[in-house]
């Protein structure tokens, strides 16, 4: 069956391509400031982000405030992926016959050069990660990006100096940290729920600010939660993927 598909699949695909090309005419001209997408919902984001949501970075404002529910879901997606990997591959335990590359993964590819370079780089990477998180409001960045960068730094350690090094996390711990991160997010929402506001409405937070600043802090908390969760899950996935089999 797959063979059959692979031999004939180009026919419907070509047809699909032609259709897609054809309908491209009906779309608004690329970059047209009058297109529905640019005139209907988005203007409000552009105008109000800083004043109402307290974030000059409109993307962050939409991400962490207007559509924070989406972002919660997105963080949950990451957690799900982590747990899924855990269920599929089980947690770290060596296989009897571990393949060569896996051995490398365990001891790391360490050579002096790599070692020196990574020692030099890693502090900056980590620092940059934190910067990306806390400055997510005024410059490109945010919890996901920060988390990804931080995890990348840790992975560099693992790759160069072996799995045991660099903030060694056991799977269970990683999961707990990830859940804690998301729980910061969820808790923020539940807090406003308990205080009689809508879920995730930062206006309800018991902080000595109001308006944009309050929301800014709300979304900052959330971003931190995301940062923790993303870091933990990415490390989890990395460790699980590079670990031996359970059986």
């Amino acid at each position: 069956m797959p063979g059959f598909i692979s031999r004939l699949s180009w026919v419907p695909l070509l047809a699909a391509l032609l259709v897609l090309f054809y309908v491209a005419r009906d779309f608004p001209r690329m970059g047209d400031p009058e297109s529905p997408a640019s005139t209907h919902v988005s203007p409000r984001y552009i105008e109000d982000s800083e004043s109402k949501a307290g974030a000059p970075n409109m993307v962050t404002a939409v991400l962490a405030d207007y559509r924070s529910y989406d972002t919660l879901g997105e963080t949950v997606v990451i957690l799900t992926a982590g747990l899924a990997c855990l269920l599929v591959l089980g947690s770290f335990r060596r296989t009897r016959d571990e393949p060569e590359d896996a051995k490398l993964m365990v001891q790391g590819f360490g050579s002096d050069v790599l070692d020196a370079t990574s020692r030099l780089l890693i502090p900056f990477i980590v620092l940059f990660a934190v910067y990306v998180v806390v400055h997510g409001h005024t410059s490109p960045g945010g919890g996901f990006q920060g988390g990804a960068i931080f995890a990348a730094g840790l992975m560099l350690v693992r790759l160069t100096r072996g799995k045991a090094k660099g903030l060694r996390l056991r799977a269970g711990v990683a999961v707990i940290i990830a859940c804690a991160g998301i729980f910061i997010y969820l808790g923020t929402g539940l807090l406003s729920l308990i205080r009689g506001y809508q879920f995730l409405d930062y206006a309800a937070l018991p902080l000595p600010y109001e308006g944009g600043h309050l929301r800014e802090f709300g979304s900052l908390t959330v971003e931190v939660g995301v940062f923790i969760a993303v870091t933990a899950v990415l490390m989890l996935i990395f460790d699980v993927l590079t670990s031996g089999a359970e059986e």
Binding site: P28, T39, H40, V77, T80, C179, F183
Partner: protein, 486 residues
């Protein structure tokens, strides 16, 4: 608290999923049950709200749509959400003995992912935002992959295929949504249906077709069903009942929601719906035919699911009030009866270790209650009164006659007869044949019923099949009809 019920339907299982690792994996089962029951409670209460005081709109983060995301619980979504969490509670109860042998952390992780699956499905049902729907679609899919993959190495391969096809489906959906966004600039369903151009320009047709294709793949509609049989056949016992019962239906629900609440059912693009109609007719017949060819009971059930999804899609495609009533009613009925069937069969498999039809010989003596439940549900699948299956089929058939599609009617009748053949084959073996060749698992005919925690859900579902049938008019008038598109 009650004004927050809509969002709590989703937050309850989500919180549960997070609490399991935080409190410690040993509480997995307890936390799961608690959170799912809570979710069911909130689902029912917001359903009651929507029935008494009209649809409930919940604006998340306090931003009014279309700028923020809203949750909409109208009678339709309320019913489906409650159905999902109800089935989830039963399935969680059922899964206990299966996971008894697992390591504590693995079982805990399993339960956590299970909660995530439920929250994903509920999220799809109650959201009022097209992109948000995509996010929860992915949550549910990912967790489903994870759960299905615990069924052994064969299931891993099946799951990988499911993952590929499922992601293709999601991409199709997202691209379709993108087309709609390009035309309207909004993602909120209500707002979009107000702003969609009412003449069917090519873009709308293509967008609708993409969404239909994407969700039809997820719903395993016939030509796009490739992932389903293997995924269900090798699926692990504890979850296959739940996944087979609700997952495809939720996608069908989403399709229904978009075709009839976002697009204008009259002025909107008809071509995709026409296509859907014929595809589902083929699905109804082909599913039954393929089920007929199976020797493995669980695989047989999987194929029969393909046929039954055809019923639902058929109702959606015909689109008259009768047809939609039939479709929604069949979503409820089929969830109950197929859940019962899968749970019964997996119970047998777990207890005796057999799956093939031949090996069911004399099973009625050993597991009388389980096979009794199986028989009731099977009769309902065949569509004999007074079981639930008959009544949804009645509506669909009536709608087919009304719309003058006699071929649809013929397909329905034919599939009932085929269903009779392949279900009575199992029943015949279970009740009439005595197993002459001893099963390697263990021979003997003494009564060895399932554990209570597995038997209760199975029997409860079987009872529900009968109740749903006898009181179908109550269900229709109270729950289904209020949910029809105005």
């Amino acid at each position: 608290m009650m004004e927050n019920a809509p969002v709590l339907i989703l937050l309850a299982p989500l919180t549960g999923a997070l609490l399991i690792p935080l409190l410690g994996f040993r509480f997995g089962r307890a936390v799961t049950m608690a959170s799912l029951v809570a979710s069911l409670f909130f689902g029912l209460s917001s359903l009651a709200q929507s029935l008494s005081a009209g649809p409930v709109h919940y604006h998340l983060a306090g931003w009014s749509p279309p700028w923020g995301i809203e949750i909409v619980v109208d009678p339709l979504s309320g019913v489906v959400a409650s159905l999902v969490s109800a089935m989830a509670v039963l399935a969680a109860m059922y899964s206990g003995p299966f996971l008894a042998g697992w390591t504590r952390r693995r079982a805990g992780t399993f339960y956590s992912v299970y909660c995530l699956l439920v929250s994903g499905l509920v999220g799809i049902v109650i959201t009022g935002d097209l992109f948000n729907l995509y996010v929860f679609l992915e949550i549910s899919s990912l967790s489903a992959y994870a759960l299905l993959s615990t069924g052994g190495s064969r299931s891993i391969v099946a799951v990988f295929r499911y993952l590929l096809i499922g992601t293709v489906a999601a991409s199709f959906y997202l691209l379709g949504v993108g087309y709609l966004y390009a035309m309207t600039g909004t993602l909120n369903m209500a707002d979009m249906s107000a702003r969609l151009p009412n003449d069917d320009v090519a873009v709308l047709v293509v967008a609708a077709s993409f969404i239909v294709i994407g969700l039809a793949i997820k719903a395993a509609l016939f030509p796009l069903h490739g992932w389903l049989p293997d995924a269900y056949t090798y699926a692990p016992g504890p979850v296959v009942g739940f996944i087979a019962a609700v997952m495809a239906k939720v996608s069908a629900y989403a399709l229904y929601r978009i075709l009839y609440y976002v697009f204008d059912p009259v002025g909107g693009p008809r071509q995709p719906i026409e296509l859907l109609g014929w595809a589902s007719v083929i699905a109804v017949v082909a599913g039954s035919l393929m089920a007929l060819a199976q020797k493995d009971v669980q695989r047989m059930l999987a194929y029969s699911s393909i046929g039954q999804m055809g019923y639902i899609m058929l109702g959606i495609a015909i689109g008259s009030p009768l047809a939609l009533t039939g479709a929604v009613l069949h979503v409820i009925n089929h969830a109950v009866m197929k859940g019962c069937l899968f749970m019964a069969v997996n119970g047998v498999q777990w207890k005796v270790g057999v799956f093939r039809v031949r090996e069911f010989a004399g099973m009625a003596k050993r597991l009388p209650w389980t096979m009794g439940a199986f028989t009731v549900a099977a009769l309902s699948m065949v569509g004999l009164p007074p079981t639930a299956g008959f009544f949804s089929k009645y509506y669909l058939a009536l709608a087919a006659i009304e719309s003058g599609h006699l071929s649809f009617l013929f397909a329905l009748v034919l599939s009932s007869l085929l269903g009779a053949v392949y279900f009575f084959r199992v029943i015949e073996y279970a009740y009439l044949k005595t197993n002459d060749e001893p099963i390697e698992a263990d021979a003997g005919t003494e009564v060895r019923e399932l554990d209570a925690s597995m038997l209760v859900p199975v029997v409860a579902l079987a009872a529900l099949v009968l109740l749903l049938g006898i009181f179908n008019q109550t269900v229709v008038t109270m729950l289904v009809v209020p949910g029809l598109p105005s």
